[in-house]
Amino acid sequence: SQKIEQNSEALNIQEGKTATLTCNYTNYSPAYLQWYRQDPGRGPVFLLLIRENEKEKRKERLKVTFDTTLKQSLFHITASQPADSATYLCALDRLMDTGRRALTFGSGTRLQVQP
């Protein structure tokens, strides 16, 4: 069956360190993968999109890698700040039975950056 796995345990790191979050998937062949940030009581906010033919994408302090052989994406936040504390969701596009494509979200990993 199709599955997206993100570490359900919270990740606690010290301010200034690099946070690395993992998204693993099975039985998907996504054309692209997206990362979102979600704060408590709010809807997710889009951060980055990486396509299957891209190995790495950067945006300011954020970096995403996409390994379609390992079926894994890594999401890095460098020089982390307490304001980066949130839940981070990965999302994969998938081909549905209807022949259309839609996003499927992982359950997210909560990041806590300690000052």
Partner: protein
């Protein structure tokens, strides 16, 4: 408006009652999605609309759930004969095109079924 809006922000209802949740997408966005998020869980896809095409309802959990999108803009998600397991946050998102583009989410409606 500047972003996706949803109403109400909170809804408490009794088991067996019907509820309607509203979503106002970003103007010009042709794709609209509904998701459900239970406490501590990821987003569960429910339904999406793309332009004037028939909606993809493959994620709806039961026939008690339905949605419509009038005039290619505002959407309403209706849950009939609510059950306690329907309690969750219902999120709406819109995007410019169906595939690939980022989705813009509303703040959600927290539904509690007593």
């Amino acid at each position: 408006g500047a972003g996706v809006s949803q109403s109400p922000s909170n809804k408490v209802t009794e088991k067996g009652k019907d509820v309607e949740l509203r979503c106002d997408p970003i103007s010009g966005h042709t794709a609209l999605y509904w998701y459900r998020q239970s406490l501590g869980q990821g987003l569960e896809f429910l339904i999406y609309f793309q332009g004037n095409s028939a909606p993809d309802k493959s994620g709806l959990p039961s026939d008690r759930f339905s949605a419509e999108r009038t005039g290619g803009s505002v959407s309403t998600l209706t849950i009939q004969r609510t059950q306690q397991e329907d309690s969750a946050v219902y999120l709406c998102a819109s995007s410019l095109v169906l595939s690939g583009n980022e989705q813009f989410f509303g703040p959600g409606t927290r539904l509690t079924v007593l």
